[in-house]
Symmetry: C2
Amino acid sequence: MSIATLPINPPSRLLMGPGPINADPRVLRAMSAQLVGQYDPAMTGYMAETQELYREVFQTGNEATLLVDGTSRAGIEAAFVSLIEPGDKVLVPIFGRFGHLLREIAERCGAEVHLLEREWGTVYPPSEIEAALASVRPKLLAVVHGDTSTTVAQPLDELGALAHKYGALLYSDTTASLGGNTFLADAWGLDAVTTGLQKCLAGPSGSSPITLSDAAVEIIQARKSVEAGIRVEGDAVRSDPIRSNYFDLAQILDYWGPKRLNHHTEATTMLFGARECARILVEETVEAAIERHRLHGTAMVAGLVGMGLELFGDQSNRMNNIVAVRIPDGVDDAKARAAMVADYGIEIGTSFGPMAGRFWRIGTMGYNARRDTVLLTLAALEQLMRRGGVPVTAGSGVDGALESYGG
Amino acid sequence: MSIATLPINPPSRLLMGPGPINADPRVLRAMSAQLVGQYDPAMTGYMAETQELYREVFQTGNEATLLVDGTSRAGIEAAFVSLIEPGDKVLVPIFGRFGHLLREIAERCGAEVHLLEREWGTVYPPSEIEAALASVRPKLLAVVHGDTSTTVAQPLDELGALAHKYGALLYSDTTASLGGNTFLADAWGLDAVTTGLQKCLAGPSGSSPITLSDAAVEIIQARKSVEAGIRVEGDAVRSDPIRSNYFDLAQILDYWGPKRLNHHTEATTMLFGARECARILVEETVEAAIERHRLHGTAMVAGLVGMGLELFGDQSNRMNNIVAVRIPDGVDDAKARAAMVADYGIEIGTSFGPMAGRFWRIGTMGYNARRDTVLLTLAALEQLMRRGGVPVTAGSGVDGALESYGG
């Protein structure tokens, strides 16, 4: 049998959608390093450094900070399946597509899920969430931080204290927001946080950093059951173990900890990438990276507004790294995006659910949160709209952005 | 906060243990390619090619051939959680550490697991498995192909027909064996097969290729429940969905299929790596790659025997790519392996369970199934034993291997 394939050689693309975005070349170089054995001191040293770096990225002192080997939703599922026992109550305030995902994953873990729902593009005042906490009394309050589907981020700063007041743990999915927006795991009282590399962290999808508070770890450790095949005298065994072996954080913590339990074989190359993502951020400083996302995200918005495009959602709670604009009347969503790729090599995003086909989502994040990417995207978009018959003042997008930059 | 870390720069290691082994540099180069959007035709084209390449690697015509985004055990769990409903009977013939893992994962999926157990280093005559199939009548017969812990592989050629005779599906975990030993998914009647990249496929851990027969797909599709957030009118919804969202193969099949369902964001860089692993194998031809593993594996064994080391397990069913030898009396396992790394940069493996501390496992697989790696490892091992006071004839290891090579 003959299968003729060519070497990997993807076309040049500037990825200015909701993610994945272009990886920082430093991350790709780190991922081209040769492997070492999984218990080589070099490898366990890299693991420990990765944990320390992500403590800084999450702004936490949590010892339990590590990588789950899978995409962002692997991290979500690891947190949920390890924390939630069937029948546990979980409260999910939904304000976009990824709130529905939290609901879905929690349900599949056997949780009794209670929902709040809000119009896409809005966020919850803490009082609404407090009222639900008081009436539901969940074990876990699970909230997306920034929901890429709507571009807005739920303020979390008061939710930790509220959750704890009603005896709940606070979980947040920060896949879309971390590294580009202020996020303070400890100061805000987060008990479990998961993320992904493919947005503001400037890496490829496939590794999910996670951090757990002592309270979360205590719940997880109480459920520990060491798997058959490596169990030794005295190890915990339970008849109702965590429902997943792959996502069993009790065992994964022992793999990352001094016991070095033989759980999975760590995805070495993804770890090299995840470590470099965090190194880049810590080198720049987390604060400076957030400010960079604010600066370029604001310029992108100014340019889009300058071109006369209408923004979507509560702008006071919009993430720094993404904006949604209404597709001008008469413009075909799919054709226009295809032309952006074909003629300019730039990818922007479409939308989901109630926004589908009506809004574009444009990101400025991670490696692509830069002045040149903002101006190029606006310049190309102007040409695209002009040729699509949309009235747009020549230079209005780039001028708007330049004005935002202050010159 | 300042965290001083250096760029990734792992020490040079020749990984001659049970895996992970050194990645083929071609795989690492493929993984350094820049990203493209997840629905870019270039990306979906790479996905389709990856599927076609793995059909050849698994020797199957199964349409349902794809990657699960995680390490080898992610593939196992995806197969089990998607196929097994709570209460289903699963039969696991155990003959090493990874049979215990299959049992563990099946139990966590809610299966009623029935076990056979055998002394490590032996395999089952088909009649023993048939007797158990007849009495248990399981939904799934789950067997490790090659169990790295014992170095032997269970012959599977008769098991598909036997499983089907008793109404069961046949699953096999081929993480340790695929690409280095004959494996014929279709000819042997396999219904579900999973693997990993880090052994004979010469890549890093972190992606799990999987293939499913039409019968397996039918069971999985009947369980489909499209997740909240992307569900549209007419989509399947079930009150008892597959217990995992991340490993829900019904949805993952729709992500890899023409529907391009928005499930996870494919781990692009791992996919680039997995594709290159298969390209290398298909270029060489699967048959030639297996013969290469046989050639160099046999030479390694001849060298070890030449040095007077005692082999472990049923040699007629040993995998081509790994051998276990008894650690000579008076030699400290951990100290000797540490010296191999410190003085020669070569890593060999220890053992688990009943073999722990008594046997070394030495692999010749993937990129490291070569003449130079075999001879170097034997030369270094001779020096190590000599200095450890073990009587060994000078040159006996290398001579044994050279004789096996035919001069």
